[in-house]
């Protein structure tokens, strides 16, 4: 960032930082609402689904349904016409993209984790692709072992899916708890360091400081692990940021994130696989599943990049502003960490999202 932009940024600092906080708040409220909803079942069953279905979402749903429905007829067609396999793969890819753009907790958890843990966009892409690959792999394994090798019933496969789902949700919750613990410490640290709050009022946006960030240096963040210098800071580099990814534990945590998100297979993929197996085209089903995963990964990665960029922008700007900057950054991180925990708990306690806990629970 050039010095000129820096000044602009300063003026905008508070406004945008507040905006980012508002986003975090909305996200948190949203998460809370899900958890609350999960605890008050609808008529003894699942909670009613989320009301916020925008026009875009409606459109996505429609496309997704179309692609999904076309899959069965395409698999049928592929029995006699080899070229239909290409169509199947194209549909699967599109379905993957649209599917991930719509429902599911994966991208929400990944995005929140990335924001909370100061991860880079590149790591976000790696996480997205790895978890989508794992998701496809789990689906293929369940159907290969369950349906192809052992010929168990759909109900039995659901049982396996349920165990995996619960493990995955528990992992997310544990993961979130850890993040909350760490980020809570940083947040409290920032709060204490910031006690004489230099007015968060918008009016103070006009106050100009030439030595941006100098007052950050002294902050005692209890959990700062190792210094990591961000490249694009205005003027000078900041004090240590809690970038755990640089340390050896960072990759371990990354793998934990991949497992947490990618363990649970998508019900749609399992249906497609079983259907393909019944049509004698299991390999086409497997190919379709992985292509679907590729599509999913692209969408999840895009959302992850978006989340990381927004966090970086908000962080950069708020750092330019008065001492409240660090507090705001820590606040956003803490909020995002809380979100991961809420997702985990929500998924565990009930059925956050319309995805039932078991594969096709309403009927099987």
């Amino acid at each position: 960032m050039k010095p000129g932009q820096c000044k602009e940024g300063r003026r905008l600092g508070h406004a945008l930082a507040l905006g980012a906080l508002a986003v975090a708040a909305v996200l948190t409220v949203d998460g809370v609402m899900h958890v609350v909803a999960a605890q008050t079942p609808f008529g003894g069953g699942r909670p009613v689904s989320d009301p916020h279905a925008g026009g875009l979402i409606g459109w996505l749903l429609a496309r997704q349904s179309e692609f999904y429905r076309e899959m069965s007829s395409t698999i049928r067609a592929a029995k006699s016409d080899g070229s239909a396999v290409r169509t199947l793969l194209a549909i699967s890819f599109a379905y993957g993209i649209f599917h991930a753009a719509g429902p599911g907790h994966g991208k929400a958890v990944i995005s929140s984790y990335l924001v909370a843990n100061q991860e880079t966009a590149r790591r976000g892409i790696v996480l997205s692709f790895a978890s989508a690959l794992l998701q496809s792999l789990v689906a293929v394994l369940i159907v290969s072992i369950g349906a192809w090798l052992l010929n168990v019933t759909a109900k039995t496969m659901c049982g396996a899916e349920r165990v995996i789902a619960i493990a995955s949700y528990a992992l997310i919750a544990a993961f979130g708890a850890r993040l909350v613990w760490t980020k809570g410490g940083s947040f409290i640290g920032a709060l204490q360091a910031n006690r004489p709050m230099p007015g968060l009022a918008l009016a103070s946006a006009s106050v100009s400081h030439d030595h941006v960030g100098h007052d950050h240096a002294g902050h005692g963040h209890g959990h700062d692990h190792d210094g990591h210098v961000h490249d694009e800071h205005c003027g000078h580099s900041h004090g240590p940021l809690p970038t755990e990814l640089a340390g050896p534990g960072g990759w371990r945590r990354g793998i934990a994130a991949i497992l947490a998100v990618g363990l649970r297979p998508c019900s749609g993929a399992i249906l497609v696989l079983v259907f393909a197996l019944a049509q004698g085209l299991f390999w086409a089903g497997i190919a379709a599943t992985f292509v679907m995963g590729l599509g999913t990964a692209i969408t999840v990665a895009s959302i992850a990049i978006l989340a990381v960029s927004a966090r970086d922008v908000a962080g950069r700007i708020s750092r330019v502003s008065d001492g409240g900057g660090a507090l705001i950054v820590r606040g956003i991180e803490f909020g995002a960490a809380g979100l991961v925990l809420l997702f985990g708990l929500g998924l565990l306690s009930g059925y956050l999202f319309a995805e039932p806990l078991t594969c096709l629970q309403p009927i099987l």
Binding site: H34, V48, H52, G54, G58, P103, H105, A147, P356, I363
Partner: protein
């Protein structure tokens, strides 16, 4: 300055839409059911039960049949499918059988299903079951909705004879309303929903509503 500002705001908004939208949009059907229903009336003119015949889509039908043994390949008898039918009605119970009756502003309660069985026909599974009303309803206007509030299951009224009145008093008439092409409805109503934030019943937008008017 202006450009920088709008760019930054754009980023935040995009991120917001991305993450928020992603968590918000939960509904996505995995199962499609074509529903045909009979409304059963007692001689005294009260409605006593709803008899459903639900046809599952081919993908789900195949999936549900996975691992179920049959004497003749590709042919499944009612007996062979009995355990699966049992599972179906037991699972559906938790979701109130996706059937919601209303008369005079009051909800009609259903008892456990009776006479349930699965039929395998032309590659599709058809679930037949009868839902008796706890207390028979005698009223001039009655509505029956069939939908999944969470939209995991997409219900569609059968093209042919989606509703039939059995033993209803003379002069009773019925009408039905399909979700105006599900997806289109979602788009049109979605905006309102999003803005008002009030309507908490997303799946209701896809409801199939049957109305019966009796003299």
């Amino acid at each position: 300055m202006k450009r920088a500002r709008s760019r930054l705001i754009g980023w935040l908004l995009l991120a917001c839409v991305g993450v928020f939208g992603a968590t918000a949009a939960h509904a996505h059907p995995h199962v499609w059911i074509t529903s045909a229903s009979e409304l059963i009336y007692a001689p005294d003119g009260s409605m006593t039960a709803v008899r459903h015949a639900w046809t599952f889509d081919d993908m789900f039908s195949t999936y549900a049949l996975q691992g179920i043994e049959s004497k003749t390949k590709g042919v499944y008898t009612h007996e062979e499918l009995a355990p699966l039918a049992q599972t179906n009605v037991e699972s559906l119970k938790e979701f109130a059988f996706f059937t919601f009756a209303k008369a005079d502003g009051k909800k009609g309660r259903f008892l456990e299903p009776v006479d349930y069985f699965l039929e395998y026909k032309d590659g599709f599974l058809v679930l037949h079951f009868t839902l008796p009303l706890k207390t028979p309803i005698k009223t001039q206007e009655l509505s029956l909705e069939i939908f999944d509030p969470t939209f995991f299951v997409d219900f569609k009224l059968a093209d042919k004879d989606p509703v039939r009145l059995v033993g209803a008093p003379e002069g009773c008439k019925f009408g039905f309303q399909r979700p105006n092409d599900g997806a289109a409805g979602a788009q049109a109503m979605g905006e309102d929903n999003f803005l008002s934030g009030g309507n908490s019943n997303y799946g209701a937008m896809f409801a199939n509503k049957i109305t019966v008017m009796c003299p």
